[in-house]
């Protein structure tokens, strides 16, 4: 284990130790407060272009396994934690640290993650870098040259291949902007046949598949920049029921005429309270997003259905006449609480009726 360094674009430097693959990673610095499900987290495509810090005290305490994969690869450029262990477990004989190395991921431990989290909380999201080979000054120079995440459409890069899942029930087309496997399983598991198409697929191509409903997935990047998907959505709205999760929620909002803005430091974790407008019930939700929908001037026919109790930001919208609804959080969980899994069944019911 060798020395490594973390730098932030404002010049903050944190020493740490490399426990992963050698190398240098650049990206937006983000943190998650989820305490387990680390393998699920790092395989979430929404982390593309980011460096992920776990605030959890110790990760890698149990083994890795295929059932915990949310996609085929690790997406954040680097993983930062207080301690990254390598224990095998029931799930599989390969420890998390060894698995990260095998995946070629830069990973560092013994970093003062609480200081890092407090810094991001107080100063907002910013670029950063982790390197096992460069000095702090060299790394800082690279960080400052690295393009910010804003205004970048990463959905095409994060999208997977054309695929299908499930063989009965209504057909939906799921637009993959970097979709987690959990969402695909959630849709199919609720009794729907899912045709997955990559971001960039046009409205015509989507409708040509004869869907009973359209779904827009989560994914990385700045929602305002994802013009192809927003355009495609505009073309299907009102024709079939639409459901969106996370980035999909933000893209639906754009298609409905709302805008998004960058949150100070994002929502990433498995403990976020979200209140439903319809009955006041609070769901404990899983979140992973850096942008939020702004509801200052709601177009006619659009309503806010869910609100974050942490910061009051929009967590769900609906446009009933256009058969569209979406949530900012992750009903599929993985990792996290199952309070919102009913949303998949609710979508199925909307599609079927």
């Amino acid at each position: 284990m060798s020395a490594a360094v973390i730098v932030l674009e404002d010049g903050m430097v944190l020493p740490c130790r490399s426990v992963g693959a050698p190398g240098t990673a650049l990206g937006e610095m983000v943190f998650t407060t989820g305490m387990n499900g680390y393998q699920e987290a790092v395989t979430d495509p929404s982390y593309l272009g980011q460096i992920l810090t776990f605030s959890a005290p110790m990760i890698g305490n149990y083994g890795t396994g295929d059932q915990a994969l949310e996609s085929g690869r690790v997406w954040p450029g680097a993983v930062i934690a207080t301690r990254i262990g390598d224990s095998p477990g029931v799930a599989g004989p390969v420890g998390f640290r060894s698995w990260l190395i095998a995946q070629g991921v830069v990973a560092v431990e013994d970093a003062d993650t609480r200081r890092l989290v407090r810094h991001l909380r107080d100063h907002g999201a910013m670029r950063g870098g982790v390197s096992t080979e460069l000095g702090a000054e060299e790394l800082l120079a690279l960080v400052r040259e690295h393009p910010p995440l804003d205004d970048r459409d990463l959905s095409l890069e994060a999208a997977g291949a054309r695929r299908s899942l499930g063989d009965n029930g209504p057909t939906i087309v799921a637009v993959d902007c970097g979709m987690k496997q959990g969402i695909l399983d959630g849709l199919a598991g609720s009794g729907m046949r899912v045709e997955v198409v990559p971001a960039g697929t046009t409205a015509e191509a989507i409708l040509a598949l004869g869907p009973d409903g359209v779904f827009i997935s989560n994914g990385p990047g700045d929602p305002a920049a994802c013009v192809p998907v927003i355009d495609a959505l505009s073309g299907v709205l009102g024709k079939v029921p639409v459901f969106g999760i996370c980035l999909g929620h933000q893209l639906l909002s754009h298609a409905l005429g709302l805008r998004t803005e960058k949150l100070p430091f994002g929502h990433r974790g498995a403990n976020h309270p979200v209140q439903r407008a319809e009955d006041g019930v609070v769901e404990i939700t899983v979140q992973n997003h850096g942008y939020a929908v702004v509801a200052d001037s709601l177009p006619d026919g659009v309503e806010v259905t869910r609100t974050s109790l942490f910061d009051g930001s929009v967590e769900g919208i609906a446009a009933p006449e256009l058969l569209a609804a979406s949530v900012q959080y992750h009903p599929e969980a993985r990792p996290g609480p199952h309070d919102a899994t009913y949303l998949f069944r609710a979508f199925r019911d909307r599609v079927a009726s």
Partner: protein, 1059 residues
């Protein structure tokens, strides 16, 4: 939803005396609950028999009843106060049981009182094993295959169906009391008999054993809108088979993956919904088979608990405060998170540190045998430590226990591994010992069943010192930092290097290795924390910023143990409140999660840190307080006074030099001589020959004890050289032994005094019921004294004042006297808060500790406005509560070694009224009819006639064995003679176990015939009948037999008239 407006007065039930399984955590919960409800504008009526609690301070509730927690007292209080609702979920199992009793007795209906928090159906569904399982099966949550048995025959049939091993759990008991494991059919009978006896409804649950599965607990909070959150998941290191109260536990769960975590979360919420807890907290326990993924729910408690207190301290989420407010109608989203203020309580805390709880046992005080841990709780206290890694937290927690007993070292690693197969109180010390000598994580796992992730961490901690130089001066910055981050304490490094703990601290500071303080904030720093609750670790920035006003550090008392319980926490909490009233910032340091002092709302800053020299010094250097209060937390902080002063910290109040004058026998003896005060002859000696000679000089009977003891550890009365030799062989005392002449037949007097060093105010004079020789902590006492006379009363007051001023006390002094033939002999003087201080404060209405703190901060006795008079129109009795029901193999006699875990108070117009109430409070209610068994030793025979006359006059019958029966008959009082045990059946023990005796008086003789007495007393404990073991207590009891509980009025502390 808004708070309920149809309720005005709420009665809150406390948990009664501290017993194993129910400790200060319920003072913490109850105090929070009372304050929260009072802040909402409700009128609070509190009932709790335990005076050593903050919740029974007259300012916490509107009406405070220190009364027995039984139906009779509760109904009288309901009549007097007309509450609209009763909140039974903050007072542990005791309060739930009382709520059920009140419902069944028709009291609730009769007076139109509603239960809030949990209704009778919910309590029954959670507590009745059968109903609970039925309820779980209905919603599809897996439970263990089980059978209910109500007699031995039924148990045998059930066992045949279930197969062995079988776990037995009695219904409606605390902390698994009376439970056990039957491995084979041969084990079944004793375990079943014990379990049936322990259950008030003679019902025992027998279930398939899941011993060895992992045990995990979830703390759930739910509101009336069906919002449910998991506050904390607590993973037990000890697998199933060891009671969770006796397990080392950790939060957050370390080894659960997302699938397992969510399986448990979903099930926990389902359980709470199914049982029907609509508002408040609940604890749900699961067993998880990691190999198969199989999960079963073991039990749930529809109330706050020891685990919920732990979860609150581990996360910063105040479950009791929230639960109390949910009970009166709020929903989680309407309540703010205490720590952030800007986010709501409807969320799940996330941790960026590791919290480790380690239990504290006291077996050395109860038995010489190695008693295995089991499904019933046996520990008496616990510590909580927080660190950035598990190893750091575990290292801190182990050091925070302040063990009195040293590890009984095995001869070899193999022996250690073999011993580890049976879970013992010292298993983690044994694992550390074995790991330091080469045992692998796999071996430790194989021997203990502790998850391999934890055994790897234990090996890492045990071997962390290996890379360190053995010369302290050779340790460099990085090595020191690395050692501390791995979980080694200064003391561990001292052991490695042969230096003192203070020297390691100096070296560490010279290297610039100091802890930084991190906030416990419920949210892993995602939001700014308003409430300053900290732990120490070795990071790169500290969140504890300089205070804007002078501060006072209050040192807590560490883990509860026999001899040092929550009475000291009571004192520490008062110190914090007083410092704040005087304009200082109060900084609390303590590591005991079962306390009010570690409620982050009590002080301006809370440090959840071990009360050890290294941790305290580091905090003092970071905070630069005006001074440190070390005299209120018992021996734990008192021991630190001198080294803290040596390190430049200002010790407030009585100086360490003055403390030494009282604690050093030589100096203290000289002082008594100078003052012309009498003490029993005494000497100190080392080694058998010198000790025998010293005892000869002092004279027998003699009281012997090692020179440093707490709670009378290893203290004994020896009647001659043979007993002295036997004592030495048994206790193997190290270093000097103190020998005092024992004044047989003397009355013990306790005096608590306040002094500024120049003048002194006597806060209370207490007469003990049992004679000197029974540890003062185990003896009942009465205030004001009933039988010592005005002259003796004035004399002990005079002597205490003389001592206080000669020692130079600034604050509190406790003096113990033995009064014989009109002469008061000084037994000892302790320049600190004594365990009687809360009792004195409650009995007299004077906030003694607050005055003491003002004295420490520079005021004089004259400034305090203390009452001049001391007339009381009432009598207060304190009674000790002993843990023998939990240790059926121990002989329940009283002696110089303290064994009680808690205390109760009874207040009455007369001594007998107060004494009878105290006995009810101690769950030793004196019978009003039936038969009393008497067996007294020869020395007590002259007093048996009076005793028997009182029993006879109260209308009870008397049975007795041989000598005692003759003595009673000789006095002309009817008595039935019964066989001694040696006479063969049917003998006295048969009679007792057969339920034919309502009370046992059995005083132990000095010699011979001990076995008979022990069998009789153990039978009484097993049968659950009051067992009195001293003649003085028997006399007090006999006089009080005629007191009718339904006639004696309850007394609110607010109504006491003093002065």
């Amino acid at each position: 939803m808004p708070r309920r407006e149809d309720i005005r007065t709420i009665m809150v039930l406390g948990s009664g005396p501290i017993v194993i399984g129910q400790a200060g955590e319920f003072d913490y919960s109850g105090t929070q609950g009372c304050r929260a409800l009072r802040d909402e504008g409700y009128r609070i009526v509190l009932v709790n028999s335990n005076p050593a609690t903050i919740m029974t301070d007259p300012g916490v509730a509107d009406r405070t009843y220190v009364e027995p927690l039984d139906v009779q007292a509760a109904e009288r209080i309901i009549q007097a106060e007309q509450p609209d609702a009763i909140l039974p979920t903050l007072g542990g199992q005791t309060a739930l049981n009382l709520a059920i009793d009140l419902a069944e007795a028709g009291v609730l209906e009769r007076h139109g009182v509603e239960l809030i928090g949990a209704d009778v159906d919910v309590i029954r569904r959670a507590e009745d094993r059968d109903l609970f399982k039925e309820c779980m099966r209905e919603v599809g949550v897996p439970v263990l295959d089980s059978r209910i048995a109500t007699d031995l025959e039924g148990a045998r049939e059930a066992a045949d169906v279930l197969g062995y091993p079988i776990i037995l759990r009695p219904a409606f008991t605390l902390g698994g009391e009376g439970g056990g494991v039957a491995l084979t059919p041969d084990d079944l009978e004793p375990v079943v008999t014990n379990a049936l006896a322990a259950s008030p409804i003679s019902q025992v649950l027998m279930e398939r054993s899941v011993t060895g599965w992992d045990e995990i607990e979830l703390e759930v909070v739910r509101d009336r809108n069906d919002n449910a959150v998991i506050v904390c998941t607590i993973e037990n290191l000890d697998p199933m088979g060891v009671h969770t109260g006796d397990s080392v536990t950790v939060a957050p769960a370390m080894t659960l993956d997302d699938r397992e975590q969510q399986l448990l979360r979903d099930a926990a919420i389902q359980v709470v919904r199914a049982v029907g807890v609509e508002t408040g907290g609940a604890n749900v326990q699961f067993a998880l088979n990691r190999a198969t993924g199989e999960m079963v729910v073991i039990e749930m408690n529809p109330r706050v608990s020891r685990s919920s207190a732990l979860a609150s301290k581990a996360t910063g989420f105040p479950i009791a405060r929230i639960a109390a407010r949910l009970a009166i109608g709020y929903t989680l989203d309407e309540l703010p998170n205490d720590i952030t203020k800007v986010t709501p309580a409807s969320f799940e805390p996330t941790l960026d540190y590791v919290a480790v709880k380690v239990p504290r046992f006291a077996f050395e005080k109860l038995t010489e045998d190695r008693v295995p841990l089991s499904t019933y709780m046996q520990s008496v206290g616990e510590v909580l430590a927080l660190g950035r890694t598990f190893g750091e937290a575990l290292g801190k927690a182990l050091s925070a226990r302040e063990l009195d007993a040293r590890l009984d070292e095995p001869a070899s690693v193999d022996e250690a591994l073999e011993r580890l197969r049976k879970p013992s109180w010292d298993r983690f010390d044994l694992m550390m010992w074995a790991a330091a000598r080469g045992s692998t994580a796999e071996q430790l796992h194989a021997s203990t069943g502790v998850h391999p992730w934890f055994t790897h961490e234990i090996v890492a901690l045990a071997t962390a010192a290996e890379g360190l130089p053995e010369d302290l001066a050779a340790i460099d910055h990085d090595q020191m930092l690395d050692a501390r981050r791995r979980g080694l304490t200064d003391r561990d490094i001292a052991v490695r290097t042969g230096a003192s703990e203070a020297e390691v601290g100096q070296r560490r500071h010279a290297l610039g290795v100091r802890p930084s303080y991190r906030a416990v904030d419920t949210c892993a720093a995602e939001f700014a924390a308003i409430t300053p609750y900290y732990y120490g670790t070795f990071g790169t920035e500290s969140e504890s910023t300089p205070l804007d006003r002078p501060s006072v550090v209050v040192l807590g008392s560490g883990p509860n143990r026999i001899g040092q319980g929550i009475e000291f926490d009571y004192c520490c909490v008062h110190a914090a409140m007083t410092a704040q009233e005087l304009g200082y910032a109060a900084i609390m340091i303590n590591c005991n999660p079962e306390t009010v002092s570690t409620d982050h709302g009590v002080s301006d800053r809370l440090y959840m840190e071990p009360v050890t020299l290294d941790a305290v010094l580091d905090i003092c250097q970071a905070e630069q307080p005006l001074g440190v209060i070390a005299q209120l937390g018992g021996q734990t902080p008192l021991r630190l006074a001198a080294p803290l002063k040596a390190a430049g910290v200002n010790v407030l109040g009585t100086s360490p030099e003055a403390i030494d004058m009282a604690e050093d026998r030589g100096r203290f003896g000289a002082l008594l001589g100078d003052l012309g005060l009498k003490a029993p002859p005494w000497a100190m000696a080392e080694g058998e020959a010198d000790l025998l000679a010293a005892a000869e000089d002092v004279g027998y009977p003699a009281l012997v004890r090692p020179s440093y003891v707490l709670g009378g550890r290893a203290m004994a009365i020896v009647s001659g050289p043979d007993e002295l030799r036997a004592w030495m062989a048994k206790e193997k005392p190290q270093g000097l032994v103190m020998v005092d002449r024992f004044l047989a037949g003397a009355t013990e007097i306790d005096v608590d005094a306040l002094s500024d060093g120049e003048s002194t105010w006597i806060a209370g004079v207490m007469e003990h019921v049992e004679e000197a020789g029974v540890h003062s902590g185990d003896s009942a006492c009465v205030l004001p004294p009933q039988g010592i006379g005005d002259d003796a009363d004035a004399d002990v007051r005079r002597q205490a004042a003389l001592l206080a001023e000669a020692i130079g006390v600034k604050g509190l002094l406790n003096v113990q006297f033995a009064l014989r033939d009109g002469t008061a002999y000084v037994i000892e003087a302790n320049p600190r808060a004594s365990r009687t201080v809360p009792f004195v404060a409650k009995a007299t209405g004077v906030p003694v500790v607050r005055h003491a703190v003002r004295l420490m901060l520079g005021e004089s006795i004259g400034d305090l406005g203390l009452p001049a008079g001391r007339a009381m129109n009432h009598v207060a009795v304190k009674e000790a509560v002993l843990p023998f029901a939990r240790f059926p193999w121990a002989d329940p006699v009283l002696g110089p070694e303290m064994r009680s875990t808690g205390e109760v108070m009874g207040i009455g117009a007369t001594f007998t009224e107060a004494f009878a109430k105290a006995q009810r409070g101690a769950r030793q209610a004196l019978p009003r009819s039936g038969t009393v068994f008497l067996s007294v030793r020869d020395e007590d025979k002259p007093r048996v006639a009076g005793l028997a006359a009182d029993i006879h006059a109260a209308g009870l019958e008397i049975v007795a064995t041989g000598g005692t029966a003759s003595a009673v008959a000789a006095a002309g009082i009817p008595v039935r003679e019964v066989n001694k045990i040696s006479d063969g059946p049917p003998h006295v023990a048969d009679l007792i176990l057969g339920g034919e005796v309502a009370m046992v008086v059995c005083t132990p003789s000095g010699r011979g015939d001990r076995a008979d007495g022990a069998i009789i007393r153990r039978a009484a404990v097993r049968a659950g009948v009051p067992c009195i073991t001293t003649i003085e207590a028997a006399e007090a009891g006999a006089q009080s037999l005629g007191v009718d509980p339904s006639v004696v009025a309850p007394v609110a502390l607010q109504d006491l008239v003093i002065g």
